[in-house]
């Protein structure tokens, strides 16, 4: 997917040039007013900007050519409520569904209703729904068009934690079921880390970072202050199950981590996220403490963090065990005092203590 747009809106100008993977979720991240919505509108064809747009080899827009919105097989979940006020929830859902030829439908009506828990509200009118209920209907309506590109503008921000937790797995599975690219605007680093494969960061209408999620997250000089949510993403395989304690072990080049077993199978590939704030460093290995995951590592670099007194330390895992130099690093966010006390300088061996690990999919 290739997108290149230039447009001017009074006080704001958008000028982007993007290569995005044709599969997976790309998170669009950036300050309020940085142009995320504007970019989505350009891609959808709602805003006619100068530029080129190619999705999976199909040209949607180029000099002198502009595919009209309704001919673009995409779905758009708007940032603000956008249900048809004159149609019941059911008719809202059917609106896009009916307009997709039967042969192209990949999601059934019942599936969408079940995924987003809409069973009880099908006959209601939109003005009788709560904010979160409305947003769920909007998401289901979008999915029912079986799009080949999904644009979502902060789809979960009106939802509570539980609803989010319930919906996210479906969104995660979406690109497996539909195998389509998703462009996902969010302000929540949690959602980024959990859902995204790629990350694009916008600032004042320009792309300031774009790349694979784990790379972008691990890069120490990322201009976005991911703050509390800086960390790394690891690709691992389930290598051991411990049914007694509901745990499983995930191996990756450079080590292994124990984590809660959420019903994984042996050899299943999973993605793990380890936040820098959850990592502490020790100079020796301690057995009499509660953290299960203690891994040998070597300090690779130490850099100032976003706030004084805090330091980001990057450690290489595998080097300690003498394996081939690999790419698995960990980020640890420590106080400058600890770094000084432990004399953490590049090359120093240390133990990485991981307090918690999250599974991304």
């Amino acid at each position: 997917m290739f997108a290149c747009f230039k447009t001017e809106l009074e006080a704001f100008s958008l000028d982007v040039n993007l290569w995005l993977p044709a599969k997976g979720v790309t998170a669009l991240f950036g300050h309020s007013g940085s142009g995320k919505t504007t970019l989505l509108r350009c891609i959808a064809g709602l805003h006619q900007a100068k530029g080129d747009l190619k999705i999976n080899g199909e040209c949607w827009q180029s000099a002198g050519f502009f595919l009209p919105v309704h001919k673009r097989p995409l779905a758009y979940v708007f940032q603000e409520a956008s249900l048809f006020p004159h149609l019941s929830v059911r008719r809202n859902l059917e609106y896009g569904y009916r307009r997709v030829p039967e042969g192209e439908r990949q999601v059934t009506f019942e599936q969408a209703v079940a995924w987003l828990g809409l069973g009880e509200m099908l006959t209601r009118m939109p003005d009788k729904l709560s904010g979160g209920e409305r947003q769920r209907v909007a998401i289901a309506r979008a999915l029912l068009t079986s799009p080949r590109l999904l644009l979502m503008d902060e789809p979960l921000s009106a939802l509570d934690h539980n609803s989010k937790q319930e919906i996210m797995p479906y969104l995660e599975r979406l690109h497996e079921v539909l195998s389509i690219p998703v462009l996902y605007v969010t302000h929540s680093p949690e959602e980024v880390a959990r859902l995204a494969d790629h990350l694009v960061v916008l600032d004042a209408g320009r792309v300031v970072a774009s790349g694979e999620l784990s790379e972008t997250l691990a890069s120490l000089d990322l201009p976005v202050k991911l703050g509390e949510n800086a960390g790394v993403v690891l690709k691992a395989t389930v290598s051991e199950l411990d049914d007694e304690w509901h745990l499983c072990c995930a191996s990756f080049p450079g080590g292994e981590l124990w984590l809660p077993n959420e019903g994984f199978q042996l050899d299943q590939p999973i993605r793990l996220r380890v936040l820098a704030r959850d990592v502490s460093v020790a100079l020796s290995k301690h057995e009499d403490q509660s953290m299960l995951n203690v891994l040998p590592a070597v300090v690779e670099s130490v850099s100032e963090n976003d706030r004084p007194g805090a330091v980001m330390v990057k450690l290489d895992l595998n080097a300690a065990e003498g394996e081939a130099l690999g790419c698995t690093s960990m980020l640890a966010r420590l106080t400058a005092r600890s770094v000084d006390k432990l004399q953490l300088v590049p090359g120093k061996s240390a133990w990485v203590q991981v307090k918690s690990v999250a599974v991304l999919e």
Partner: protein
């Protein structure tokens, strides 16, 4: 006295045809006016409202000139083998349409403008073509506007009089509508007949309007 139903049917037929025609003509004009930013927008809007400022008989007179055998339009209709329009039912419809156009265009334009872009954008992303989203989104959302337009056009045509008299020639069964009939009674001092017709017309119209409004009110609430 045998009651003469002909003017009643004729009136209803005229009002019905006119309203229908007006909807078909007025809707695209209103839609264009609501959406465009062409420099012609305001001039066209002003021209649409113009027929209103001429007294109906005077408007009728000019239509007579225009549509008559020497008139520009008359020449055209004649060369097309349609004859001339004055003194025909078709002519009445044309004149009424012309006269009531603003009552249809203005409320529709307001309704379309009030609607904003968002819902149409949503429909577009849900695969609805421009025509499709016009029919399934714009029209339902503009329903109060359509309602008002139809009521004003229908009622105004029923009550219309000057233009009809002028262009219609008051031919019984063809162009003699109810309003003309009542007028005749008033002019000839047959007040009793006038009261009867006018009263009946008011009652009938009231019932029609009330029914229409009640249905509309119901629709506004219910699920469709």
């Amino acid at each position: 006295m045998e009651f003469d139903w002909q003017p009643v049917w004729l009136t209803l037929k005229l009002a019905g045809f006119t309203t229908l025609t007006l909807m078909f003509i007025g809707t695209p004009i209103a839609w264009w006016l609501a959406r465009t930013s062409h420099w012609l927008k305001q001039p066209v809007a002003a021209v649409v409202a113009l027929p209103l400022v001429l007294p109906p008989t005077v408007l009728g007179f000019y239509l007579l000139l225009l549509l008559g055998p020497q008139g520009v339009v008359g020449q055209i209709t004649q060369s097309l083998g349609l004859g001339t329009l004055p003194f025909t039912f078709a002519g009445l419809v044309v004149a009424s349409v012309f006269y009531s156009l603003p009552f249809v265009v203005q409320p529709l334009q307001n309704a379309f403008e009030a609607m904003g872009e968002r819902m149409l954008e949503v429909a577009a992303t849900l695969r609805a073509s421009p025509w499709d989203r016009f029919m399934t989104v714009a029209v339902p959302l503009a329903r109060p506007g359509f309602m008002t337009a139809a009521v004003l056009a229908f009622a105004h045509t029923i009550g219309e009089f000057g233009v009809v008299l002028m262009i219609g020639g008051n031919i019984p069964g063809e162009t003699k509508v109810l309003s003309v009939a009542i007028y005749d009674h008033v002019e000839t001092l047959e007040y009793d007949q006038a009261h009867l017709l006018a009263g009946g017309m008011l009652l009938f119209s009231f019932v029609i309007l009330l029914t229409l409004y009640l249905i509309n009110g119901r629709l506004n609430k219910g699920v469709r």
